[in-house]
């Protein structure tokens, strides 16, 4: 169930050179940042504002609520990674990745992104087709297309060598002030098994959005349904999100302190494993020095950081990462170079 939900989040979206940004342009700005409160302006205006409420904006998708905070945290890096991105045209981009690793497998991965011609906004074009294939033959592929003005669909498959591990179809409807999405994962008609996930997110006020998620999992002889609720509050320079469910709770807080410094705090409680984790992360962006630094401190006595530095004038980006677990006395470091 976890892998389907992870795959249900929007694709990594490498930007096509000079073209629209694809999936990441979906909901990059939460409503509170762009909507000034209009209710104080003129309740007696000539328009038909019978309830005198400011127009509510679309709240974005369900998966993106925790994303702003998660992006502040560094990723654990291990081994050496070389990525070459090449844009072949406005619509097509290709990437080669070579990974050398001490703990896992080393390999080569080829990825390609195609962005279509139907332009729906300044940063979005559809259809978007993303695929990548491993040297062992494992394939990840996603197709995202906009069927109507408010309906977007996504089909994703994932294989491990020749065996299909994940296949799912996802449909999302964006209304005026709400977003509803349905995902069908790994449906198997012969066995009668599958996973059905429903998401709903509604803007109550320009700052507050509430939503829920229902996961229905069916296997021959067993069916399980799990529900969870989500609430997100957006302030001037902060976003606070809370998810509560039977499997535990997850709360995140994102704060933009200055132009350069962003802070995220995350609290996660798991009822199945009976443990809680608190993490604190910060991101320091110094564009003058082409330097991006992300650091994190954890309640599991884990300390980690990543540095990304653009080595101008060449189109090179150097990434260094180090993670240290004080409790288990384990250290992991890695570096990567991205060309293009």
């Amino acid at each position: 169930m976890g892998s389907v939900l992870a795959a249900a989040s929007p694709s990594p979206a490498p930007a096509a050179a000079g073209a629209s940004q694809g999936v990441q342009g979906l909901a990059s700005v939460p409503p509170g940042f762009t909507m000034p409160p209009l209710s104080s302006v003129s309740p007696t205006s000539g328009q038909q504002t019978a309830d005198a409420e400011p127009p509510l904006a679309n709240p974005g998708t369900y998966e993106e609520c925790h994303r702003k905070c998660k992006e502040v945290f560094p990723l654990q890096m291990e081994g050496v990674r070389l990525v070459v991105n090449k844009g072949l045209s406005n619509h097509f981009q290709v990437s080669h990745t070579v990974t050398l690793s001490t703990l896992g497998d080393s390999g080569y991965r080829f990825g390609s992104t195609y962005v279509g011609t139907k332009q729906t906004g300044p940063a979005e074009s559809f259809p978007v087709m993303v695929g990548d294939m491993d040297n062992t033959g494992s394939l990840n592929a996603q197709i995202i297309h906009q069927l109507a003005s408010a309906v977007r669909t996504k089909i994703a498959i994932q294989t491990q060598q020749h065996k299909f591990v994940n296949w799912q179809c996802d449909m999302e409807w964006r209304g005026e002030d709400f977003t509803a999405a349905v995902t069908l994962g790994n449906p198997d008609i012969t066995v009668g098994s599958g996973i059905l996930v429903g998401h709903y997110l509604q803007s109550i006020t320009p700052a507050l959005a509430l939503g829920g998620e229902v996961v229905y999992h069916r296997r021959p002889g067993e069916e399980v349904a799990v529900t969870s609720l989500l609430g997100r509050y957006t302030g001037d320079n902060y976003v606070a999100t809370l998810t509560l469910g039977a499997a535990g709770g997850h709360a995140t807080y994102y704060h933009k302190a200055t132009d350069q410094l962003q802070i995220g705090v995350e609290f996660e409680a798991n009822t199945r494993m009976q443990d809680t984790t608190t993490s604190f992360g910060y991101q320091l962006d110094v564009p003058k020095a082409n330097f991006l630094f992300k650091g994190t401190v954890d309640s599991n006595w884990m300390v980690g950081a990543t540095i990304e530095k653009k080595l101008l004038p060449l189109p090179l980006t150097l990434a260094l990462g180090a993670f240290l677990n004080h409790r288990k006395h384990k250290f992991q470091c890695g570096f990567g170079v991205t060309i293009g």
């Binding site: 110094v286 003058k288 020095a289 630094f293 650091g295 401190v297 980690g304 950081a305 260094l320 004080h326």
Partner: protein, 133 residues
């Protein structure tokens, strides 16, 4: 025979050995033994509560010192490595940026005259003439 047998149980050194050495040996042995015993005997004069309090405080302070030493060791290690990972790269980069900007400023000063380098410096009175220098 009975006289010889009777003598050893009596106190005092045995007549077979020279008396002076015997006395020294015995006293040395007695001294070693009795010094510790004497000191220990001295403590017996204090009441029980004081003795137990002294014992407890001595052992507590020893264990506290050990704990504090161990804690300070691991705290120093954790602090140093965490500082190294979380703060040091940022410090390096900001210092480098500052130095670079200073260098650029200096170069601009040398190239264009002493007033163009300063942001809000004095109004330019001297014409830039680097060649004449």
């Amino acid at each position: 025979m009975p006289t010889i047998e009777e003598l050893p149980p009596a106190e005092g050194p045995a007549p077979s050995r020279p008396p002076a050495d015997e006395i020294d040996d015995d006293e040395d042995e007695d001294l070693d033994e009795t010094l510790m015993e004497r000191l220990w005997g001295l403590t017996e004069m204090f009441p029980d509560t004081i003795r137990t309090a002294a014992e407890v405080s001595a052992s507590c302070s020893v264990s506290l010192a050990k704990t504090f030493y161990g804690f300070s060791r691991s705290a120093l290690w954790v602090g140093t490595t965490s500082f190294m990972i979380l703060v040091l790269p940022v410090v390096f980069e900001t210092e480098r940026l500052q130095l670079e900007q200073q260098q650029l400023q200096q170069q601009r000063q040398i190239l264009l005259g002493p007033n163009t380098g300063m942001s809000g410096g004095m109004p330019g009175m001297m014409p830039p003439a680097p060649g004449k220098m």
